[in-house]
Symmetry: C2
Amino acid sequence: MADVNFKNTPSSPLRENGPDLPDSGEATGDDALPYDLVELLFFAYRDFTGDPDEVLAKFEFGRAHHRVLHFVERNPGIMVTDLLGILGITKQSLGRVLKQLVDAGIIEQREGSHDRRQRLLYTTETGHGLAVDLTRLQQKRLERALIGLPDGSEETIRRFLLQMIDPDARPDILKLIRSSFDLRDR
Amino acid sequence: MADVNFKNTPSSPLRENGPDLPDSGEATGDDALPYDLVELLFFAYRDFTGDPDEVLAKFEFGRAHHRVLHFVERNPGIMVTDLLGILGITKQSLGRVLKQLVDAGIIEQREGSHDRRQRLLYTTETGHGLAVDLTRLQQKRLERALIGLPDGSEETIRRFLLQMIDPDARPDILKLIRSSFDLRDR
DNA sequence: AATTTACGTCAGCCATATTGACTTAATTCT
DNA sequence: AGAATTAAGTCAATATGGCTGACGTAAATT
């Protein structure tokens, strides 16, 4: 748990004993690349997914199961095809994971009432409980991360994250997210 | 590329034809779980890593290679052991990826001058160029994401991301990141 | 001299993704 | 009514990036 610590960090290996790098003049202007933000994102996302990972490991589930559970919990009655679109994976990849979740009584499939080809997906009571537990873990981390930030920071972060997303994907994602906050342009 | 769009999103599957969920009263108080933030983080991080992924795919490299390249670029002369600590993977996992990067002339290993057991890692000129290219891609996305946000937002986001990280891992990560911005407590 | 450290390697396993091909059933289109 | 499309599932093979355990070698430390 929380094993994100580095082993040694001995003498902070800054150009340790490397006298002969070509000095790589950077005439191309690598003015102040945002290394810190890149790395903060990396470690933040890692720990963010780490909380649920620990819980899911007890069920022999992985992150793939979490993603499926999350989006089914959020979109009860979703079609398999739509779920594939959201997750951006193939039918075959989803198949395995979904089967395991169904077998474990986490997710339930029901025949569509209008279109009987569909196997609409729902969380079971158990699945719903697990989904809520996992989201609450993430909520705690998010709340802790917002402590001490100026007023309006949460909204700022929401807009930042939205704008990180490919512009042409945003409309669909906004529909999916249906935030209680105002994420419209401007 | 930018295939993050969902296929259909037909009739926004909101409890489509599911009349008989136990209504899951949520007496446990699932008051306003932060689904939107969770999902924004998911999609934002996905697209953020997507840019480099596309470039790396041309070299037959994956995200694992990117992480190694990034941290070697950032910490020239880093020891293998320290890199393992940063990445949080095993020697064997790193071994494969690192070998490929060395064979491709992206990363260079030099014997430590004080401790001849060490194989200190450096990017080659080529590797440095690639690393810069990749980071610039991510920079563009970050800059676009910051557009239109209020003054001080970048700092807010930095603090948010830092506070997302496990508290006991922060000191080491701060050392690693050595941001030009002030990320100290308070 | 003994122990520990740094690094590497062999071998095998697992999770999650991929592609391509194909089937079944149901719906929709002409 | 018949053809085409769609929804879902399946078989088989492959790739990536992790993992564990067991060893080996050289160099440094105690």
